[in-house]
Assembly symmetry: C2
Homo-oligomer: 314 residues x 2
Amino acid sequence: MKCRVCGNDAVINLKAYNNALCARDFIAFLENRVLKTIQRYRLIDKDEKPLVAVSGGKDSLSLWYILNRLGFASDGVYIDLSIEGYSSLSLDKVKTMADRIQRRVFIFHLMETLGKGIDKLSRVIKRSTCSACGMIKRYIMNRVCMDRGYNVIITGHNLDDEASALLGNILYWKDEYLWKKGLELKESEGHLSKKVKPLFLCSEREMAAYAILNSIDYIRDECPFSIDAKSLVYKDILNRIEESSPGTKLQFIKGYLKVSRAMKTQRRKDNLDYCAVCGYPASGGICSFCRIMERFGIEGDIRFDEYKPEGLPT
Amino acid sequence: MKCRVCGNDAVINLKAYNNALCARDFIAFLENRVLKTIQRYRLIDKDEKPLVAVSGGKDSLSLWYILNRLGFASDGVYIDLSIEGYSSLSLDKVKTMADRIQRRVFIFHLMETLGKGIDKLSRVIKRSTCSACGMIKRYIMNRVCMDRGYNVIITGHNLDDEASALLGNILYWKDEYLWKKGLELKESEGHLSKKVKPLFLCSEREMAAYAILNSIDYIRDECPFSIDAKSLVYKDILNRIEESSPGTKLQFIKGYLKVSRAMKTQRRKDNLDYCAVCGYPASGGICSFCRIMERFGIEGDIRFDEYKPEGLPT
């Protein structure tokens, strides 16, 4: 198999694009794809200050690396949920990348603020671990973004993540998510930051290849709580279809974007309300995060660490 | 496992309904489900004369049987495509059912009219067998229906057929089919008959059980040309999801109906045009069927046989 660009040995076969590429040309291809996605869907404006939500996994670390290579100077935010044997290891990977690209990262330790890790917390507040984690991450990402003068949160959701979530929403026609959840952007307004996903056209396999080819050291284990059987079933299913019809996942997501735009549904802002305690968006009254703070009798505000690579000016 | 209605031994477990039933109660359940589907979606009006498209398979034969039991007196139409070792066997099953329910059936023999079976014909006109078959069936069903004073064509598409076709249309967002192809009905107008699918909420498994429990002798082999790998992959995939989340297929189809109705798209009639030769609907100029007749230099009209069970008055 030869690289279609330079004729050297190819390292990856991209059936969806009917293409095969060597390491150098694949890296250029993927970075260009991310750039084109950002431009075409207007994900990040030139005057915006982006903040990347980094988990220590291949997608978010690669994305952070790519953005900085593409000239979108971005800092990171990491949320430490105190998952044994997982969180501290992830944080190490994040710091390694921060050093490599010389960008700072804000770190929120759940244990420091609430005295509990996500495991114990979710049992106390009677939510599933994934639901509690999602709620905390959304809140903290938004807080750091707004409090520290950033205006767009960047997450590393890839094509496989988006396609499997979409399939789940469509099988059950979950109206509340289906058409409202744009893949490109939500309006930034009030105290709610815009969120974008520049990897939504890059597959899991492409991202893994990119990380490996760039010697990006990422955490390979899945989160021990991510036994979300359904999304794994959906990913597996979509991979089976992709196998026999390369390009299906891309068409599925791109077609969705077209249709959902045509639906001209109102964005979510309609009922946006603000938390009586922290002043950040809430669906009514006091936000979920502040309710937890109240419940545990925690006073004062939340605190972030800031990790600054050596040699970086203040 | 006990029948939830009468307490006798159950013969089938219906996880999607959280129900288990004995033979008698399952038969009543399924027939009632077809009746409710017809009523709720207004598939057949009381003053309409329905014609069932029968293939010799479990779905169409069971449906024909059920409709006549429910009081919707229906005749049949069978299209003989001269598939070796398949067509004549299917026709036998159709005639057996016609005798059992004492209804007539119109029979179109492709070989008689065009001098070719579907296999050879599709090669000559350079279409896939399935595409040529679909075109001929649509034309002939409509002709028999209109020419013989019927006004609604009934087909035996079941839940699995519809869900897998829908999944295929959604993965590729096939707009031309996606929202326009209502599952319940198309308007009857001009020379185009209405078509309905009263089994669209009954699963393949339920229909097989119904046929067996009623000693309906159907052709078990799939059509030798139906190596439509994709729809089989989709069915298999949906069955996997159904296995872990019973009721998914039903929710998928019912949700679609709700959404597609809300889309308020215009029906197909917009551009309905008529064939210059036969006068039946065509997308423009001469219809595909008449073009084939012309190409082979066949003059005169097409001919149907009529099979009338013994003892049936003329």
